[in-house]
């Protein structure tokens, strides 16, 4: 019997093998044919049927797939390969709960099958059903007394505790988990390090520090790594300071450059020793590291000063200026010196900061009209320059605009001279040019100067400079990031896109770095590129959501209990990413704006499956995953500890923008719903129609919340003008720019007006047409000047808004008009409908009103579309003015040409794509008139 099943399964495997191979190769058609071949011989073969379903799914035939899967599921398959294939299929069709169901059913029939139960456990892990995980793990342990199963159960309990409220967690759940582990401890059955770590985690969650210390001092500790470190930290936590400081001293002696030990050493020893005693130890340690690269003992002296800052003794003990000068003398040529000292510069008063910089300047030995002579000297000089910027030497009140201009010139010269010290040919292509930081500093200054003067030639100079640097330092990503920022500022999105492509950002970077340029691709006119980029990002998020469940199962499989909670958090962080939510909404709006006929509009809407009735975004869970620190800036130290990159403020902008755009999406979808614009029913007038509700929400957003958010960025003295801080932020202010545009163009209010009119009388009335006529979102701005360097950003932003608004309005109108048509033209239909909802049916006299108003609005929108087209054609033959004087230096000429070419190509592309969208919209509008 046993051997027969064995033969069966090998025969089966041989027959199925080609199907698997085709599926693996991505040839789903062949897989389908092969599966059909097997099924002709064995029509009942469950596995072959499931594989056929999988092939169908991958060919886009979801319904057929579902049909087969339902049938196989009803037969309660128990065979491993069938179940595994079903798991894959359900995962791809986003029904992980079905995986649990099929394994549950199978396990009921074959309850002693270890493998089935393991799969069942993992299917619960995918669902995050901790209770059922626990039960299944215990069932497994009963079946086979293996430690991993037992600890799966314990971990499942801990996960329940993490999700429960604290009282329940600490009172009942965690003690249960602890008792379970203690049982094995007492029986001497603990095996792996991970099991012990789980034990410690349970104790930690309950705050049982003493118990942890006991474990770390007991016989079990031999299985753990990093015991001395953990013990030392615990002693500190338990406020056993003398022991803690002795423990950290010991750790420092073994690993003299580990910064974490010094911090904790100081925390502990200052509680029971004098600063002098601590300093003696640090001095001793520092002396023993003479001639090595160890920075920690030196830096620890600054940390000591911070800790005792307010005491009188601090003054007597150490002179921070002298100490910092020494530190610079030791580590001045390493880039880390800037970040290290920046941490402690606030120990100094403003005059002593200047004093320190003065002394460092003398030590570096480059006079204000000289240039560094060696690379090493140049590195010191660069780090000094960076410290100067951090100390406010590039900003008001120390430097005025004139001074900044001089500084920028000097830095440009320093770059030119410095880059000759390390020519491109002498370096590996992957090495940065050591003079690059001069150019970065100069670019920051030019960027500042632009905001002060509104003269775009500063930005063109910065672009030329950065492009030139990139030619000889192609690996330097700082240059690319800054280029993205500055190209965006002048509205040359093509240049920004090119620079961003050079960064080669992928996978998780699409989330953490996507903010650098993706949100502005469409608003600055590169619609097709935006579409591709948004698609790419969305694919990452969707794929990851599928995969992240697998990652969790790995963590259980390998017993890495410490990582499980982290994995769950990562899953949530990506799932609720702001960028993901914004990408999804932007992508859908972009697609909708491309529709050229009512048919296409309805098709597009139906494939998107928008539910206008429900808000699908979980607002309270949204996560901001932007990595704002990737941009180097050396911004001046702020005393109030304010965030110069405005993470919180810009997050709020993202929130408002997302709210506004997802409402627009829902409004368009609501227009296409049969009865969304009509009152729900005459008798039940308590709940207003959906469209009215959405429109009211958007109105509130546009008139209350958004202005309040924008005010935070405004100059308190000049309303409507962005304040200095916000305009000089290094991080791309995409959300702010877009939100301002939506607000200033009155795009949102325009959508609200049409939606209201459609709610009230099912067609755009006279009042509505009046309002549309005056909307700024439907007029373009004046063409930018042609004879001087300018930023094209305002013009392009508005041109895009204009085209987008036209598309949105046309979509809303044509959705509503299409709804009305069958009611009005088809007599049979009308009778049927009349019986159903007689009250909402328009009277015959109003029908002609209807037809007239659709024609009117169509004519009006068509006229606006033509205007947009004319305005865009005005930029067609543009020659970009960079304002850069021609130069003998060939590199400068090349770089200037790069900027001009990229810029012109970018503008041409923006105009081209915006015009072609306008033409599609025009077709949709024309269908309104006929």
């Amino acid at each position: 019997m046993a051997s027969k099943t064995h033969v069966d399964s090998t025969v089966n495997e041989r027959r199925l093998r080609p199907i698997y191979d085709w599926l693996d190769n991505g040839n789903n058609k062949k897989a389908l044919q092969e599966a059909d071949k097997v099924l002709r011989k064995q029509p009942g073969n469950q596995c072959a049927r499931v594989l056929k379903a999988l092939a169908l799914l991958r060919l886009g035939k979801e319904d057929e797939c579902q049909l087969i899967m339902d049938k196989v599921r009803a037969e309660v398959p128990c065979e491993d390969s069938t179940l595994q294939a079903m798991s894959i299929c359900y995962r791809e069709i986003h029904q992980p709960d079905k995986i649990s169901e099929v394994y549950e059913a199978a396990a009921k029939i074959d309850p002693t099958n270890e493998e089935l139960l393991t799969h069942l456990f993992m299917s619960y892990v995918r669902l995050g059903d901790f209770k059922k995980q626990q039960q299944t793990a215990l069932a497994l342990y009963k079946l086979k007394l293996k430690n991993p199963y037992y600890f799966w159960a314990v971990m499942s309990i801990v996960m329940q505790a993490l999700k429960a409220d604290e009282k329940l967690a600490k009172g009942i759940i965690l003690p249960l988990a602890e008792r379970m582990v203690l049982k094995l401890v007492n029986e001497g059955k603990m095996e792996a390090e991970q099991e012990l770590q789980l034990y410690l985690m349970i104790l930690e969650l309950q705050g049982k520090d003493e118990e942890i210390l006991n474990v770390l001092s007991g016989p079990l500790a031999s299985r753990l790594s990093a015991v001395p470190q953990r013990k030392a930290s615990l002693l500190l936590q338990l406020q056993r300071y003398p022991e803690a400081s002795a423990a950290f001293k010991e750790l420092i002696n073994q690993d003299i450059d580990n910064w974490a030990y010094y911090q904790d050493y100081l925390k502990a020893s200052l509680k029971h020793q004098t600063p002098k005693e601590c300093l003696d130890f640090l001095n001793e340690t520092a002396a023993s590291t003479q001639g090595t690269k160890a920075r920690a003992p030196h830096l620890a002296r600054f940390e000591l000063l911070v800790q005792i800052q307010d005491s009188e003794e601090a003054q007597k003990l150490l002179d921070p200026v002298q100490l910092m000068r020494q530190y610079f003398a030791m580590f001045g040529e390493k880039s880390c010196v800037v970040g290290d000292l920046k941490l402690y510069l606030n120990l100094l008063t403003s005059p002593s900061k200047l004093n320190l910089l003065q002394q460092i300047n003398e030590d570096v030995g480059v006079k204000s009209d000289e240039y560094p002579k060696t690379i090493e000297q140049m590195q010191r000089h660069i780090h000094m320059k960076q410290l100067q910027r951090i100390c406010g030497l590039h900003h008001c009140p120390i430097a005025d605009r004139k001074e900044r201009e001089k500084l920028a010139e000097r830095l440009l010269d320093l770059y030119d001279e410095g880059s000759t010290l390390s020519p491109f040919e002498d370096r590996l292509p992957t090495d940065f040019c050591p003079a690059d930081p001069y150019a970065l500093l100069a670019s920051h200054l030019l960027h500042q100067l632009y905001f002060e003067s509104n003269d775009a030639s500063y930005l063109y100079r910065a672009m030329e400079l950065l492009e030139r640097c990139l030619l000889s330092s192609p690996a330097n990503f700082h240059l690319k990031i800054l280029l993205v920022r500055i190209y965006l500022e002048v509205g040359l999105i093509g240049g920004a896109d090119h620079a961003f492509t050079l960064l080669d950002a992928k996978h998780i970077q699409l989330d953490s770095l996507g903010y650098l340029h993706t949100p502005l691709l469409a608003p600055l006119g590169h619609l097709s590129r935006a579409s591709a980029t948004l698609d790419h990002a969305a694919k990452f998020f969707v794929a990851n959501y599928k995969d992240s469940a697998d990652h969790l199962t790995f963590a259980y499989k390998y017993g890495s209990f410490v990582k499980i909670q982290e994995f769950v958090e990562l899953r949530e962080r990506l799932e609720n990413s702001f960028h993901f939510a914004m990408t999804t909404v932007d992508k859908m709006l972009l697609e909708l704006s491309w529709c050229d006929s009512p048919g296409m509009l309805f098709n597009t809407l139906s494939t998107m499956r928008i539910q206008p009735h429900e808000d699908s975004i979980r607002w309270d869970l949204l996560r901001d995953n932007r990595d704002l620190e990737v941009i180097v800036g050396w911004e001046p130290l702020s005393e109030k500890n304010e965030d110069l990159r405005m993470k919180e403020e810009t997050r709020e902008c993202m929130l408002r923008l997302l709210a506004a755009r997802s409402l627009i999406l829902r409004i368009i979808a609501a227009c296409a719903e049969f009865d969304a614009s009509a009152p729900t029913s005459q008798s039940d007038s308590t709940s207003p129609p959906l469209l009215a509700r959405l429109s009211a929400q958007l109105k509130q957003l546009a008139t209350e919340e958004i202005p309040a958010t924008l005010r935070k960025f405004e100059d308190p003295e000049k309303s409507g003008v962005i304040n200095y801080k916000a305009s000089s932020v290094l991080v791309p202010m995409d959300a702010l720019a877009r939100l301002r545009e939506a607000y200033e163009s009155e795009q949102l209010i325009t959508v609200v007006q049409l939606a209201d009119s459609l709610t009230q009388c099912s067609y755009p009335d006279v009042k509505c047409l009046e309002a549309l006529r005056s909307s700024a979102s439907l007029q373009t701005l004046h063409l930018p000047e042609f004879d001087s360097p300018v930023s094209y950003k305002p013009f392009l932003l508005r041109a895009t808004t204009c085209g987008e608004t036209l598309a949105f309005l046309a979509a809303m109108c044509s959705a509503c008009a299409t709804q009305m048509q069958p009611r009005m033209s088809n007599k049979k239909n009308r009778k049927k409908l009349a019986g159903k909802e007689n009250s909402s049916l328009p009277s015959l006299s109003s029908i002609s009103d209807h037809l007239q108003s659709w024609t009117d609005v169509g004519t009006f929108l068509a006229e606006k579309a033509k205007n947009l087209e004319t305005a865009l054609s005005g930029l067609e033959n543009l020659r970009l003015q960079t304002g850069i004087k021609s130069d003998a230096d060939t590199k400068k000429v090349t770089a200037t040409a790069i900027v001009s070419d990229r810029g012109e190509a970018s503008i041409v592309q923006s105009c081209l794509v915006l015009t072609s969208r306008e033409q599609l919209t025009l077709k949709l509008i024309n269908s309104l008139r006929s």
């Binding site: 580990n258 390493k334 995969d547 890495s560 941009i631």
Partner: protein
């Protein structure tokens, strides 16, 4: 100088200042997750003081990913049954990368030492790593740390053109006779590498 601590999932969002360097590859999430799940202790980050104290700052993370290669991992999981092959049991450095701003501070050496310690603890016979033959700086550094070129792997790195790799090794204390570091005299193809 740095703080050495285990890599966490949140670091995936902040490792850009290291990963934007052209020599450092950014892999799909599954790559990092699998290794975090298998060997969390092998996956370390060195963090500079400003990252730790300020909570935000430029250039904070320097990352090392020290990982045991898959095939070897498999051996470990079934080690009870496969003791005969024990002498091949080793630690493998999959990626080691230091942010541009934190080079020439001895950080790579610290991280390599850490890996060797973990591998000693796991009773491995040797540690190995692959490096581009053109990466002179890295090769010299590994040599200073006691690694020797064990063999050349032909066209290991795909690109235009493909590039050879050196397989460099250092014996650990368990390999008493230092059998693992007797160099091969002939180069091998990538498919011959286990």
């Amino acid at each position: 100088m740095s703080i050495l601590r285990p890599f966490t999932c949140n670091d995936l969002f902040r490792f850009n200042n290291v990963n934007l360097d052209p020599l450092t590859e950014t892999y799909g999430l599954s790559f990092y997750m699998q290794y975090l799940a298998h060997w969390p202790e092998y996956f370390q980050v060195a963090e500079s003081p400003n990252g730790e104290i300020m909570g935000y700052s430029t250039s904070v993370i320097i990352i090392i990913i020290i990982i045991i290669r898959k095939s070897i991992l498999y051996m470990f999981l079934v080690m009870g049954k496969a003791e005969g092959h024990g002498e091949n049991w080793h630690g493998h450095v999959t990626a080691l990368t230091v942010s541009n701003d934190y080079r020439r501070l001895g950080l790579a050496a610290t991280l390599m030492r850490y890996l060797e310690e973990v591998s000693e603890k796991k009773q491995a016979y040797f540690v190995d790593l692959f490096v581009r033959v053109s990466n002179k700086v890295a090769i010299k550094m590994y040599q200073q740390l006691g690694y020797i070129v064990y063999r050349t792997v032909l066209e290991y790195y795909s690109g235009d053109p493909d590039e050879d790799a050196y397989d460099m090794r250092k014996a650990l204390s368990r390999d008493v006779k230092k059998k693992s570091v007797i160099p091969l005299t002939h180069p091998v193809r990538p498919e011959e590498v286990d």
